[in-house]
Each structure stands twice: as structure tokens, then as C-alpha cells.
Amino acid sequence: MSVSVQEADFDAGAEIAALSAGRDDVGAVASFTGLVRADKQADAAAAARVGADAPPAVQAMTLEHYPGMTEKALEAIVDEARGRWDLYGVRVIHRVGRLVPGDRIVFVAVASAHRGEAFAACEFIMDYLKTRAPFWKKEETPQGGRWVDARESDDHAAGRWDAGRD
């Protein structure tokens, strides 16, 4: 199974090892692990405003998704990557539910013969995931819940892969 949507954490090392286990043709495994990040800038701004004991801007976040479509969308992205590069294995894991800063949230790993294909496919899958897979983040802040806005830079990142293509 190349795609998983799950509440549970994952073992990135074990996933990477599995992509080349029992075969000798894999020359490169590229991986990306995304983490829930504390917003230090916002925390510093809050501390300047209300004092050093200001609560952190983002205390946790909850990932919502569209069960059924999520898996299909991720599989379609993996298929698209396999059509563009010669890949020996792909693994995508996205967590859902409540996560706190420091938690792993997403994992992409790609095995290929050479690094160029592995790096490119890994970045491509993340860029497409950001704009095409139906996940939504809601942050918990001292002021209450707040849905994260989509970023234009993510659309640009995904759009780069379409340049020069039909």
C-alpha cells in the first residue's frame, strides 16, 4: 500500500528502509517529513504585547479530511508522479486528527535508480498534495479555533510542474 491516511504516528526510518528492502536496483531514496511547527514569530509578538507569560500562538491543530476522496486524490498524485519519472517505490502518509507542535504530520518517500528522479518526484508529490489533497488545518490559539488560509505560494509551487506541459 503506497498511501495511508491515519491518526497514528509513523516511523520514517522504517518506511524508508522498506522501499529498498529485498532489492538491489534502488540507487536513491528521497524523503520528506513535515512537522507541526510552533509559530515563534507570532509568539514573540504576543509576548511583546501582553507579557512573557503569553500563551503560544498555536497550541495544537486538528486535521480534517474528506474520507474516500483523500485516498483517491493521493493515489492520483502518486500515479501522476509515476508517469513522469521512473520510480521503484512511493510511500505517502498523512496524519489526521489533533496534532501539537513537534508532531510529524506528513511523509513522502520515493525510491528510484538515481537521485535526480527521487528528489524531483518527492518534491512534486508534496507540491501537488498541498494543493490537491482534501485536508484542512484548524489551529487552536488563545483566541479560539482558526482555519488556516491556503497560501498562494503553494499554488505557485504546484504550478511550476505544469510549465512546458500540455
Partner: protein
Amino acid sequence: MNIKILFFAGLREALGTGSASLELPAGIATVGALRDHLAARGEAWTALATTKNLRSAVNQQMVGAEAAVKPGDEVAFFPPVTGG
């Protein structure tokens, strides 16, 4: 046969529901027309008209407002995605 309509994230919260089922009214043949039809219910439903860059899917495929809808379809409306 009814169509099933799903809502996610901030739109789901604005509407106070994650799903709706209705008989496709005569003359409603596209996602955009369905969106306008629901928004015309007024009150909370206007969120369908006011949500910025509202996205849609038919049968779990992301589509544009011009996409066709027919009885039996699963249609979803949601804000731009923010995973990863």
C-alpha cells in the same frame, strides 16, 4: 434519486452541517448552479456564495463550477485545501 452534498472545514462550521441530501431541482445541471441554488436559501447558506475561492468535487474528483451534476452524484463544497 437524490444527490448527496458534503461540506468541509470552515464551510461545514458556517452551515452547521456536514451533509445534505436533496432531489436535484429541474434546471440545475452544474456544480455552479447547485451552489447558487443552495446559497439562495439565505441565512447561513449564503456562506456558499461568500466563501473565497470555494472548491468543489463531484464523485470525489475535484472539478470546476461548470462540471455536470446528475441524480445519484456525491457533490462536495469546501474551502481551498491546507494539508501537508
